[in-house]
Amino acid sequence: MALEQDGATLRLMGHCPVEEAEPLLDALRATPDATVDLTGAAWLHTAVLQVLMVAAPALRGRPDGLVAAACLAGLPAAVAE
């Protein structure tokens, strides 16, 4: 399971294929204040990136790579706890 929810924190782990886009979208719709934790994410599929871009949740950690950086640059960072 690449998507885990822990209260208001959604955690994407490892390789997140296109199938994760829909559950992620549902989770973000259900939890408007969610923080998405990407520290454990290795690769996000385009569809997943798109969901993040649309929902624009606060992010913790950013996956490596120019593409993810370019897609997620506009999203706020989670407030450090």
């Binding site: 296109v18 886009a21 829909e22 992620l24 979208l25 973000l28 719709r29 408007p32 204040d33 690769w43 996000l44 599929h45 385009t46 569809a47 990136l49 798109q50 969901v51 871009m53 649309v54 929902a55 624009a56 790579g65 120019l66 593409v67 993810a68 950086a69 370019a70 897609c71 640059a73 506009g74 999203l75 706020p76 407030v79």
Partner: protein
């Protein structure tokens, strides 16, 4: 066909071949990049899909054609007629192979050899044309407009990497996820990826209505790699990608408002001196020092950053151009104009406020929303209300955060983090307008929403790949590829429903007769009306599926005309009109062969050679006009040429010689009637049989084919001015409106289209001219035919009536009166052709089932007269 995949491939391949073929012809006429892209896309797709099957010769041949097209697209090869011929021939060969695949599922045995020959020819041009035409003649492609929107740091890194550089944009199509594509992965793996910007291709749907399986991103990337490597990497998405090789200088795009401070003049003087003496380190330091003083959003600041970044490595010319961009002095004349152009400030040097906001409409809107929140908070309210109001405002602000300039977002976020501090939040919201210009430029450029990007850059970003955008952005019409047999089955059911509902009308009559209940009869009739309406709609709907534009038939003609005229040494301009006219697929298919024949005839016999044309004072280039239009329930297709026309005298002599007409008949005929004798069987005016037309089959074949489809054809010609063949066909052949007539106690159907009118003729007005009975209808003599006699039926018993019921029918373009015993009713039926033992029966076009279960024979009038 057992292989379902192959069955799917075949129609697709045909379509692609057609695309490529028509594209090539369009390209030959006018060099358009769009047409070239179309051809390339078609050929490329064909190559890709053919790889799924064990048909290596086909794949190899298409590959060779694609390689040739790549060179043409890159401008290294000019598309001469010879090459177009070669490509067309290759496509034809592929077409033949596709036919073979369809029938036998394997390529013909000689495919390998045929392929080798063709590939050699194509490759030959590739090698001959490749080095001959140098890249310089093509002129360097302009750098894409969006280049300036890439983060400055990434551009500087790319500049440092140096040539070869490729800037490319990639708009994965909407449904790419369904094919298992991961565009981000593809982009991430691109060779030498240095810079990237990801933007939405259009308006992004809100979260509530968001569909996670559709792709809507556009990638703009910069790679330090050879064009070939990038293009190879993106080969599977080549139709969604726009590649342009760029020079490092193209990367220097300076944007931002103009700063007219005097110190720039001083800097310019000093910097030029430093460049001249080669004191690069000092130049860098000077630029850095100045940067520390001025605002970072101006154009000058951007130029300074470039100087600071490039001082150590760039050549003097580039640095001097940057210096000129700062102090506004005349730039050093430079051979490369694009960089100079890039240095100019964007139109009118947009004032700072818009430069921050206009680039992102969302940001503007977010600011507007914040301003409203501030207004709302400013209104004093009761304590109890206030808490809820504040909470609402906080939620709104939080939602707006992602769309704000990062610096402003951070500040607001900090205020939100302190729940009690309403005043701080209010204060931040309030000066929204004033805060933007200072806050935004301070922010570092980001990929998604770069404050440095001028407004025009975004809108212009769409334009460089207009070709792509049309395919992906405009939302392609969703098509369903359905086996025609399925539609035909549906059509048959719809038509049978139309016929079956006729049974209700009978039933209503019977109910009234048998039970004497008029009430019940009326109710059945009401139900009948409802079913009738639905059945009609169903039929119209199914018919619409089968309707196709005439262009389906016409599109093969540009090629045919081109090839034929080249062979004949004639010059002909093909004009196609009304190709949007729609007709039933079967009708169009029945029309295809006759039309080819007529076009060949017009080119071969009609239009003269250029020399002959000039001699009689016509333009050397002949015109062949193909036009289609709809008239009532018919499609009218005309093939008109401005050639030498047909000499009625010659036709008459020939017709007399071969015994088509007798001298007596000839004496009575008008010139236009002679001309139409060309449709008679066994007639050909040309003595010589040419390669093209007149292969023993004449225009009679055309007429037979058209008449079989329920239409008619005739010819008009003026000697020396040209001929026009007109084909009239019914729009649809599925359901026929007929009228039933009675003869000797039997009922027969006659298609309504053929019936001009019905009249009662008193016996006294029927005259006998020679062996023929005739009567006069509105000053025209109409020959009469007795249906019972024609069918060999016994004459009706009893005394002949005082008045004969005459159905005036159109046969060809003549009118004939058909004497019947009476008219019965009109109805819509499906006429089923006679088959099996009945197939050879003359006089009937088919049978139809009546509402009461009886079988009705439908007459074929031309056979009877």
């Amino acid at each position: 066909m057992t292989n379902a995949l192959l069955a799917q491939f075949i129609p697709e391949a045909r379509e692609l071949l057609e695309h490529a073929g028509s594209g090539l012809l369009a390209l030959e006429k006018s060099q358009s990049a769009e047409a070239l892209d179309d051809i390339f896309r078609a050929v490329h797709t064909l190559k890709g899909t053919s790889g799924l099957f064990d048909i290596a010769p086909l794949t190899n041949l298409v590959h060779a054609a694609e390689d040739l097209l790549v060179e043409v697209r890159a401008g290294k090869l000019t598309l001469e007629s010879e090459i177009v011929d070669g490509l067309l021939d290759s496509l034809d060969l592929v077409g033949h192979w596709i036919d073979a695949l369809e029938s036998r599922e394997v390529l013909p045995d000689d495919a390998e050899a045929a392929m080798a020959g063709r590939v050699e020819t194509l490759r030959g041009w590739l090698e001959a044309g490749g080095p001959a035409a140098s890249v310089d003649t093509v002129g360097r492609q302009a750098a894409p407009d969006w280049l300036g929107s890439l983060p400055e740091a990434e551009r500087q890194a790319a500049y440092a990497a140096g040539a070869p550089l490729v800037a490319w944009s990639y708009e994965p199509d909407e449904s790419c996820f369904f094919r298992g594509d991961d565009p981000a992965h593809l982009v991430a793996q691109a060779p030498g990826l240095l810079g990237l910007r990801v933007v939405p291709r259009g308006p992004v749907p809100p979260l509530e209505a968001y569909d996670p399986v559709l792709s809507w991103l556009r990638f703009e990337a910069l790679c330090a790699a050879p064009l070939e490597a990038v293009s190879e990497h993106l080969r599977y998405a080549s139709d969604q990608v726009q590649l342009s090789p760029i020079e490092p200088e193209d990367l220097i795009v300076l944007a931002g408002p103009e700063d007219a401070a005097e110190m720039f003049g001083d800097f310019g003087v000093r910097a030029r001196a430093l460049v001249a003496t080669g004191a690069r380190a000092e130049l860098k330091a000077a630029a850095a020092a100045l940067l520390g003083i001025i605002g970072s959003a101006t154009r000058q600041a951007a130029a300074l950053r470039w100087i600071a970044a490039l001082a150590a490595t760039a050549d003097a010319g580039a640095l001097l151009r940057l210096v000129s961009a700062i102090d506004g002095a005349t730039p050093v004349p430079t051979p490369a104009s694009p960089p100079a152009a890039a240095l100019q400030a964007p139109a009118g040097a947009a004032p700072s406020r818009t430069s921050a906001g206009a680039e992102s409409p969302l940001r503007q809107r977010a600011e507007a929303i914040l301003a409203v929140q501030a207004e709302m908070l400013a209104v004093t309210a009761e304590e109890a209300l206030n808490a809820g109001r504040l909470a609402a405002a906080r939620t709104v602000v939080r939602r707006c955060l992602p769309h704000l300039a990062p610096a402003r977002a951070e500040a607001l976020k900090a205020a939100l983090a302190r729940p009690g501090d309403t005043a701080a939040l209010f204060a931040l919201l309030r000066p929204a307008d004033d805060a933007v210009p200072t806050a935004a430029p301070a922010a570092t450029p980001t990929a998604v929403a770069s404050p440095a990007a001028p407004a025009p850059a975004l809108s212009a970003a769409e334009s460089p790949d207009g070709g792509d955008g049309k395919g992906a952005g405009a939302g392609p019409a969703r098509m369903l590829r359905v086996d025609q047999a399925k539609v035909d089955t549906l059509m048959n059911f719809a038509a049978e429903l139309v016929v079956a509902k006729n049974g209700l009308a009978y039933l209503a009559g019977r109910v009234e007769q048998v039970s004497g209940s008029r009430q019940l009869g009326r109710e059945i009739k009401e139900q009948y009306a409802v079913i009738d309406r639905i059945a009609q709609s169903l039929q119209v709907g199914v018919m619409a599926i089968r309707m196709m534009p005439v262009s389906q038939v016409f599109q093969r003609f540009p090629r045919l005309v081109r090839d034929t005229t080249r062979k004949l040494g004639k010059e002909v301009e093909l004009v196609i009109q009304g190709e949007d006219t729609e007709a039933d697929k079967n009708v169009l298919e029945s029309l295809a062969d006759p039309l080819i024949h007529m076009v060949r005839n017009a080119l071969d016999h009609g239009i003269e050679t250029p020399a002959d044309r000039v001699a009689v004072g016509k333009p050397a280039r002949g015109t062949l006009r193909l036009s289609a239009r709809q008239e009532n329930d018919n499609v009218i297709i005309e093939v008109a040429d401005d050639g030498k026309g047909i000499d009625p005298e010659v036709v008459r002599d020939k017709a007399l010689r071969v015994g088509l007409i007798t001298p007596d008949q000839a004496a009575q005929m008008a010139p236009e009637e002679f001309v139409n004798l060309v449709f008679a069987p066994g007639f050909s005016t040309r003595e010589q049989v040419s390669d093209l037309s007149g292969r023993g089959v004449g225009m009679d074949v055309v007429r037979n084919a058209v008449r079989k489809a329920g239409g008619d054809v005739w010819l008009a010609s003026r000697l020396g001015q040209g001929s026009c063949v007109t084909v009239q066909l019914p729009l649809t052949m599925a359901v026929t409106r007929i009228v039933t007539v009675e003869a000797s106690g039997q009922q027969y159907g006659v298609a309504m289209d053929a019936v001009a009118e019905t009249v009662k003729v008193p016996r006294g007005q029927i005259h006998r001219i020679k062996q023929r009975e005739t009567f006069v209808l509105r000053d025209a003599v109409i020959p009469l035919v007795r249906l019972a006699d024609s069918l060999g039926l016994a004459p009706a018993a009893g005394a002949p009536p005082d008045e004969e019921a005459v159905m005036v029918a159109r046969v060809g373009r003549e009118r004939v009166g058909i004497v019947v015993d009476g008219f019965r009713e009109r109805m819509e039926v499906i006429v089923r052709p006679l088959d099996g033992l009945l197939a050879g029966l003359v006089g009937f076009s088919g049978t139809a089932l009546l509402g009461d279960g009886r079988v009705l024979l439908v007459l074929n009038l031309p056979d009877l007269i």
